[in-house]
């Protein structure tokens, strides 16, 4: 027997070989380098098959009666059994863990997905809201700047109006204290600034200095009540004689009544100015009369 194969070695180990063939195997054990390893390998395979219960009935009987007699092989069997049960136990643990994981995986997966989607939606919402607020802030800033510019413009206009008003007041002061500044070839009118609520009687008369060049009165009266459509003004002497009159005097936009009564024969003395409110056609209304007293002095 030149090179006994595994089957022969297996038969030898199970005690199925006749004595002469067994001797040949044993001789190989002492003459071939790799033969010991082959015997040990076949021993392991027999043990594995025994543990797997895959041996034929005859082989199994031979293992139990013959093969397992030496303590060394029993130790091998014990170790192989320990290794196998350890590995299979680990496998079962891994499987049960995997099954457990697979069981909880869908729930876990959906929960995590739902949380992720919710977080994403919240993030998108926050970003959108932030953008909206930013746009609103930009628009408010622009509007504020526009309003600021408008206010500045109004302020400038108000300052301008104020300056104009101050100029006008200054001019009026000049008029009250004397005559309107005379322009070349223009008749001189004495400016009479009346107060809206005039006390009754000649004692409360508006006193003015009469100039030789005066050719009439320029009456100015702020209107505090609701103004009439038109007014009729009549200048009378102290004894009630009508000296001059103007009709259909309409109030200016600023709520001031301003009109001229030409009367070149003005002299020093007491005068009565009667103002009667009228309708849009100029027709006087009986209940709308007001009387103002004016004293002209030299």
């Amino acid at each position: 027997m030149n090179s006994p194969d595994k089957i022969t070695v297996r038969k030898y180990l199970l005690g199925f070989l006749p004595e002469d063939e067994s001797n040949a195997i044993e001789e190989k054990l002492f003459s071939e380098e790799s033969f010991l390893a082959l015997i040990e390998q076949v021993e392991d395979e027999i043990i594995d098959e025994y543990l797997e219960d895959s041996l034929s009935a005859a082989d199994k009987q031979a293992v139990e009666d013959h093969f397992m007699e030496p303590a060394e092989r029993r130790e091998k069997l014990r170790f192989a059994g320990t290794l196998r049960s350890h590995i299979q136990q680990k496998k079962k643990q891994n499987l049960s863990f995997e099954r457990g994981w697979h069981a909880i995986k869908p729930v876990y997966f959906y929960a995590v997905s739902a949380i992720a989607v919710a977080l994403f939606a919240v993030s998108i919402g926050l970003v959108m809201n932030n953008l909206r607020l930013q746009r609103k802030l930009d628009s408010e800033t622009a509007r504020e700047q526009t309003m600021q510019a408008a206010l500045n413009q109004q302020l400038r206009e108000a300052q301008l109006q104020n300056e104009q008003l101050q100029n006008e007041q200054h001019r009026r002061i000049l008029h009250v204290s004397g005559h309107r500044p005379e322009k070349q070839g223009e008749p001189v009118y004495l400016v009479v600034n009346l107060k809206p609520i005039q006390p009754r009687g000649i004692e409360s008369a508006t006193r003015l200095k009469l100039d030789a060049k005066t050719r009439g009165l320029e009456v100015r009266l702020p209107l505090v009540d609701a103004p009439f459509h038109s007014y009729q003004a009549v200048l009378r002497s102290a004894n009630g004689k009508e000296l001059a009159a103007v009709a259909k005097v309409t109030p200016a936009n600023a709520g001031e009544l301003s009109f001229r009564i030409p009367y070149p024969k003005l002299e020093a003395g007491n005068y009565v100015l009667v103002l009667v409110g009228g309708d849009s056609s100029g027709k006087p209304l009986a209940t709308s009369s007001k009387t103002y007293y004016i004293t002209l002095e030299k």
Binding site: L29, S31, A37, E52, K76, T82, L83, H86, I87
Partner: protein, 190 residues
């Protein structure tokens, strides 16, 4: 046959010199021959294979000392002849021991699993994976799994079995040492 001969360091030196003039090589050959002798006695179902292997060595050393060796160029063949004689002598003195029950797979102790876990931990990742996959299935599933495993590693089935055998051998030696250490600790603590 009872031997009166006693082992001496000179006898051992002579044996080693006979095995090889190089001391290290002689040591390695001594170990190798002893393994084969043990296997021979195991295969002949002897209950004390290590002791019979030592008896064989003693007999060979005696022969060297008395210069009765017939084929000095073939030490292994000589050992085989001596081993067969020792076996015959042992057969005559052999007493039949009561048959022990085989160890059941489910009947394992905690230290055995602990030692195995430790020894598995000393393997490389590839070795651990290979042996775990090799033994994790039974029946038809086992055959399919081993075939796919062999394909995966680019081996034929026999080469895969040899690899598993080698890994298992390393594990078994490690496990045996670990268990012996555990037993020693147990004895010391008693």
């Amino acid at each position: 046959m009872k031997t009166e001969w006693m082992l001496t360091s000179e006898a051992l030196d002579r044996l080693l010199l006979w095995l090889s003039p190089d001391r290290d090589q002689a040591g390695a050959r001594y170990v190798e021959i002893r393994r084969r002798l043990i296997k021979f006695f195991v295969c002949r179902r002897c209950s004390i294979p290590e002791e019979l292997a030592d008896r064989t060595f003693d007999r060979v050393m005696q022969a060297i000392e008395t210069q009765t060796i017939r084929c000095p160029e073939q030490p292994l063949r000589y050992f085989f002849g001596v081993a067969k004689k020792i076996h015959l002598e042992f057969g005559r003195e052999k007493t039949t021991l009561p048959k022990e029950a085989l160890p059941l797979p489910g009947n394992r102790t905690e230290p055995e699993f602990r030692c195995l876990e430790k020894c598995l931990g000393q393997l490389t990742e590839q070795e651990r994976s290979l042996i775990s996959r090799y033994y994790e299935h039974d029946g038809h599933e086992k055959i399919v799994n081993r075939q796919s495993q062999a394909e995966e590693f680019g081996l034929d089935m026999n080469a895969l079995r040899i690899r598993v055998f080698r890994i298992k051998k390393i594990l078994r030696e490690c496990h045996s040492k670990c268990m012996a250490k555990n037993d020693l600790i147990k004895i010391q603590s008693q």
